[in-house]
């Protein structure tokens, strides 16, 4: 398997789709990617760069979507969610309840994948604030195979969506994608406990849990997964650990699981509610927040 970035794989697949489907429109807030250069060269009439202006990125995309285009709005994750949250709320979440629109917000830079760029580029709030909006599907993939599978859904599923992409190239978490629409997958089986993680943390959970009798579940449709199937998967397991690259206890993955799995023993792992200014590798930033590999291994050793 190759190491690839989610956005590169997604955009390459989208580039192909744009050849077949002239209703696809791409809007960037002056944010790029090598494949995006091909998209804008091949489809100058269906690509627009609105400049460093995320509020207008959303509004222009909404206008295009109201007119029937399938729209992809593209920017750095904290900016496409928080700089223009009001535009997303009013013109996407509220308006789409009355007027259907297919609009796909692609944010690159999940969690602390831009670890060196500091707190403005760390994206630790988006899972909770995007999840709280009605009428918006939240997709938090853990590898590029999932992002590739999602391309079809962005076209077929004519609703607003938020796509939270990691910035860093990675190996896939699993060799293939099966039952994609269920919204979660089992990366490792186990019987003593289960880690339910999302995004990069699913990869990390798989790595640290390799030597433990612990199930690892990768949840990638944060508000559109098959809950019944998940409950069946978890039968007989009482101890649940949630793990996310986001602030903990404020409405992210942990809140979703806590509210749905009320009869289990759930421990929530995520970032403490503070910003990290000390730069370093992603693992360094994780360690600063008690989420280093050793921290997680120590925790797993304590699971009886």
């Amino acid at each position: 398997m190759q190491i690839k970035a989610m956005r590169d794989v997604f955009l390459a697949a989208l580039h192909q789709k744009m050849h077949e489907d002239d209703s696809l429109f791409f809007v960037s807030a002056d944010f790029g990617a090598p494949i995006l250069d091909k998209i804008r060269a091949d489809f100058p009439d269906r690509f627009i760069n609105v400049g460093i202006a995320e509020q207008n990125l959303i509004n222009v995309s909404v206008g295009l979507a109201l007119e029937g285009f399938t729209v992809y709005a593209y920017a750095i994750a904290p900016f496409i969610t928080m700089r223009c949250y009001e535009q997303i709320r009013v013109n996407i979440a509220i308006l789409s309840q009355l007027r259907p629109m297919n609009i796909n917000l692609i944010g690159v830079g999940a969690g602390v994948s831009y670890s060196l760029s500091g707190p403005t580029h760390h994206c630790l709030e988006d899972l909770s604030i995007m999840r709280t909006l009605p009428n918006l599907e939240v997709f938090s993939p853990s590898d590029y195979l999932l992002t590739e599978s999602y391309v079809e859904r962005t076209i077929a599923n004519k609703t607003p969506k938020y796509l939270r992409f990691d910035a860093m190239p990675m190996l896939p978490a699993s060799e293939s994608v099966e039952n994609f629409d269920e919204g979660f997958r089992v990366l490792q089986t186990g019987s003593k406990a289960v880690i339910i993680a999302t995004g990069y943390m699913s990869q990390k959970a798989k790595k640290v849990a390799a030597d433990f009798d612990v199930m690892v579940i990768d949840l990638y449709f944060l508000n559109a997964y098959d809950l019944e199937k998940l409950q069946v998967c978890l039968e007989g397991i009482e101890t649940v650990i949630t793990l996310e690259e986001g602030f903990k206890g404020v409405g992210g993955l942990d809140s979703e699981i806590n509210s749905k799995l009320k009869n289990k023993q759930v421990t929530n792992l995520g970032f403490e509610q503070k910003y990290t200014f000390e730069v370093g590798s992603r693992e360094f930033v994780h360690e600063e927040n008690g989420l280093g590999e050793q921290d997680l291994i120590t925790l797993l050793k304590s699971v009886k």
Partner: protein
């Protein structure tokens, strides 16, 4: 040809009906709904817009985005009169279960977007105008905004974008009534010279000296709509907030003031018999 007498009569009708709605539903923003009446009259009764009451989202309509939603209660009698919905609905404005609220939303046939939060219409209209161009449609996008609303920064992102992409199928109409919520707008954020600002942003600028002179309004809008100079167009209409209600016309707090219920019938009579 413009039928001035007819348009004047329709503007009068809207002013009276708006006051009647205000009488039954004092919650609605009356002053800011009285300033754009001649603009809406020219657009709809003057047929400067293509619209279809039987199918409000007809592909062959012009797209009107009313960004100052709260200040467009005068659209309720207009839309009912044109057949967008039943006239009986006008009796239920702001009543439980009514789709005609204090701030119009697109559950009302004839409204395109959510308008309760200011500064959103122009950006969405840019996307619509871009889509219409891409689809090679000859329909146009028209936005109505207030002047206070131009304080919102998102407008200026859209203003730059529209010029950059030569959206000459986009017209912004500014209902320049010069009163915001807490004061005259010049004492909050002075927009003067608004026309120079738009010129500097590479827009084509039209100005209506008296936004209540129906001939001026109609003729200027008509000229602006027919102009295709590869630039977006702005029509700055100098209007009076609370037009027709003397005490509102000069009051810096007119936005939040109501007309006393007992005064409305008398005011309606005055408007009926005014020139």
């Amino acid at each position: 040809m413009i039928d001035t007498a007819y348009l004047k009569q329709q503007a009068k009708f809207l002013r009276i009906e708006t006051l009647k709605i205000h009488k039954a539903a004092p919650e609605v923003r009356v002053a800011s709904s009285l300033s754009p009446i001649e603009i809406f009259t020219a657009l709809f009764y003057g047929k400067l817009l293509r619209y279809n009451p039987k199918n409000p989202r007809d592909e062959n309509r012009d797209r009107l985005i009313i960004s100052k939603g709260h200040g467009s209660i005068c659209m309720y009698p207009l839309l009912a009169d044109l057949g967008f919905f039943d006239k009986d609905e006008l009796k239920r404005v702001c009543k439980s279960g009514s789709f005609l609220g204090g701030i119009p939303d697109p559950i009302i046939p004839g409204y395109e977007t959510v308008n309760g939060s200011l500064g959103h219409g122009l950006g969405v209209a840019c996307g619509i105008a871009l889509a219409l161009k891409t689809k090679k449609s000859d329909k146009k996008a028209v936005v109505l905004t207030g002047d206070g609303e131009l304080n919102e920064g998102a407008n200026w992102e859209a203003i730059m974008c529209a010029a950059q992409h030569k959206l000459d199928n986009l017209t912004l109409i500014v209902d320049y009534n010069k009163v915001s919520m807490l004061d005259f707008s010049k004492n909050i954020i002075d927009l003067n010279s608004l026309s120079e600002k738009f010129k500097a942003f590479n827009w084509d600028v039209y100005e209506i000296e008296d936004g209540h002179d129906i001939e001026q309004v109609y003729n200027t809008l008509k000229t602006a709509f027919s102009d295709q100079q590869q630039k977006p167009k702005v029509v700055i209409a100098h209007t009076v907030k609370g037009k027709g209600i003397p005490f509102l016309e000069t009051h810096p707090l007119s936005h939040i003031l109501s007309v006393k219920e007992g005064d409305i019938d008398g005011l309606v009579e005055e408007i009926k018999h005014a020139d």
